[in-house]
């Protein structure tokens, strides 16, 4: 253990440590606490200057109800759009990447390292280098301003990272499993479906939560490939509502909480898988 375990130190030091941890945690999360508190504050507090004190009234239902009321704000629509974009994109990206990762990990053909490098590099490039051609193509083929188009683009883009990730996982699986299946006469598709896919399950969970947060949190592509409410995801929607709600910080806060919530929930439920995924396979536990 490094640094030296605090448990070996005398009690006052240990108490001081716990105290310090809590203080630093509070400072670190202060912005989040502020937004949570504001999201349950009535609008009258904002206009009367009570930004940081105890809310004069508990307006949780009022604020969130206002944000989620389809007659008053399109937030619910945005939320549904985000889900319709994110969930299919995650599934399709995982499916085609597990196939590609399988190919790159198992077969020793020429150029496989180059292809592998290409998928990694593609994942790191700046979005702007793709922006004009992709936008032009979207307009030309009727994909512009559609949920399908945005989901399709995310699927394609995340394939780079996902293939990199899964290829690294498949390489660690015992090759003898595949060989013995071949001896029994199994086709390659069967090997992939009945041997590899079941073994991939833990990796797919990691990858799934990562892709979910990447796509859910996207702002740039929503901004470039969508323009109307019918396809606008929640990140873009929230930034658009910022102008409309201008000084209603309690509503902006509630909207922000809603926009952030799905990634946060996914993170807390699948925390272990999430962290395993984030290290890009580069950091061994």
């Amino acid at each position: 253990m490094f640094p030296a375990p605090i448990n070996r130190k005398p009690l006052p030091v240990r108490t001081l440590y716990v105290f310090a941890v809590i203080v630093i945690l509070i400072i670190f999360l202060l912005p989040l606490a502020a937004i949570l508190l504001t999201s349950i504050r009535p609008g009258s507090d904002i206009s009367s200057g009570n930004y940081w004190g105890v809310p004069s009234r508990f307006a949780l239902i009022e604020n969130y109800g206002e944000v989620f009321n389809p007659a008053r704000s399109p937030m619910l629509r945005y939320f549904v759009n985000s889900a319709l974009i994110t969930i299919p994109a995650v599934f399709v990206a995982i499916l085609i990447s597990s196939m590609a990762g399988f190919s790159l990990a198992v077969y020793r053909f020429k150029g496989r390292i180059a292809l592998y490098a290409m998928f990694i590099a593609g994942n790191f490039i700046p979005y702007q280098i793709l922006m004009i051609p992709v936008r032009t193509m979207f307009v030309k083929f009727g994909l512009f301003d559609t949920i399908f188009g945005l989901a399709l683009f995310h699927t394609a883009f995340q394939t780079g990272f996902a293939t990199f990730f899964l290829r690294n996982f498949i390489v660690t699986l015992p090759y003898s499993l595949i060989e013995s299946a071949r001896v029994e006469g199994a086709t390659e598709i069967r090997i992939f479906r009945s041997i590899i896919l079941p073994l991939l399950r833990p990796a797919l969970a990691s990858l799934g939560v990562l892709l979910f947060t990447f796509i859910w949190n996207d702002f740039f592509w929503a901004l470039t490939l969508v323009q109307s409410d019918k396809a606008r995801p929640i990140t873009f929607g929230l930034s658009a509502l910022k102008g409309q709600w201008l000084i209603s910080w309690n509503l902006i806060a509630a909207g922000s909480v809603i926009a952030a919530l799905p990634s946060v929930i996914v993170f807390f439920i699948l925390q272990k898988q999430f962290i395993a995924g984030l290290t890009l396979g580069g950091v061994k536990e």
Binding site: M1, A4, P5, I6, N7, V21, I24, L25, F28, L29, P31, L32, I35, M99, A100, L104, F109, R112, F119, I120, A121, G122, F124, P126, Y127, Q128, I129, L130, M131, I132, P133, V134, T136, M137, F157, T163, G185, I189, T213, N217, D218, F219, F220, T224, T235, L238, S239, I252, S256, A260, S263, V264, F267, I275, T279, L280, G282, V283, K284, E285
Partner: protein, 295 residues
């Protein structure tokens, strides 16, 4: 005869397997990622408004970039982002060392520290805009406690970029913290204990024993931080939209602005190509590292 045909079919599906497993991914990635890169380079050699015909101008767009004050200030700001965002791995490591203890409840505490990383940058941008707001922000309250007049950080052309970068460092620190905490659990206990018996401790131990073992975590932390800082766009779009007076532009935002609002596709593409080339250097370094560990 039938058996021979069947065998041939079996051989075929085996031989073609690498191809058909790769095909869907390659197709999607090719159409939406690889091909557009070349198209952008091509567009950058033209004058184009996005609708009409393209006019060949050679490297003219690049020549114009050199004389464009906004481009130069964007480039400078990108440098600033890159340099200051490097604080995130440092803070992340410091926090990881601080939290790498086994006391009651530490697991929950750690995951609370990871929190900012999963929140999207639009929300983070909004939170920080509000934090800096001179009328109702927390920063203003703090200034008032000390009897000072609140500074409108995001409306000040000398401070806006720093204000945005701070908002960027926050989630990035959480990311680096995750990487380093994972790395620390993998540190060899015996080597650490042996070092302790030899009288090494504190900074000395950190430098000679711990950091070398954290190398993989450091490589990933540096890579994602460099890429993240060069990609910075969301926070700028949300917090200042490049202002005040263009003082918080970076290449990514400058490009977007030229292409979407000024319809200068060729010029915008040239900015994107420059950004792409800058990032290629870092991507190349990361790839070299990965490929060499492959062999």
């Amino acid at each position: 005869m039938k058996q021979a045909a069947q065998y041939k079919l079996y051989r075929m599906q085996h031989k073609l397997a690498p191809l058909y497993f790769l095909l869907p991914a390659l197709l999607l990635f090719g159409v939406f990622v690889l091909f557009p890169i070349f198209q952008s380079i091509w567009i950058s050699l033209h004058k184009w408004d996005g609708f009409g015909p393209m006019k060949w101008v050679g490297i003219n767009n690049y020549v114009r970039l050199i004389g464009d004050a906004r481009f130069i200030s964007s480039l400078k700001n990108n440098g600033l982002w890159l340099a200051l965002m490097m604080l995130a791995p440092v803070f992340g490591l410091a926090l990881a060392l601080f939290l790498n203890q086994q006391v009651k409840g530490i697991r929950v505490i750690k995951s609370l520290f990871f929190f900012p990383f999963v929140i999207n940058l639009v929300v983070i941008g909004l939170i920080f805009s509000w934090f800096y707001n001179p009328d109702l922000g927390l920063l203003a309250e703090i200034f008032k406690i000390f009897g000072l007049k609140p500074i409108p950080i995001l409306a000040d052309e000398n401070l806006a970029t720093y204000g945005i970068i701070l908002a960027g460092i926050w989630p990035q620190t959480a990311y680096c913290l995750i990487l380093y905490l994972t790395g620390l659990t993998g540190v060899n206990v015996q080597i650490v204990e042996a070092g302790r018996i030899d009288g090494a401790g504190g900074i000395k131990m950190l430098r000679h024993v711990i950091l070398p073992q954290l190398r993989p975590a450091t490589i990933v932390a540096l890579t994602v931080t460099v890429i993240g800082s060069l990609r910075s766009f969301d926070l700028i779009a949300i917090m200042t939209a490049g202002g005040p007076w263009g003082s918080s532009y970076v290449l990514a935002y400058h490009m977007y602005d030229e292409a979407i609002f000024n319809y200068k596709m060729g010029y915008g593409a040239a900015i994107a190509v420059v950004l792409f080339l800058v990032m290629t250097v870092f991507i190349g370094l990361f790839l070299k590292n990965i490929i060499s560990s492959e062999k």
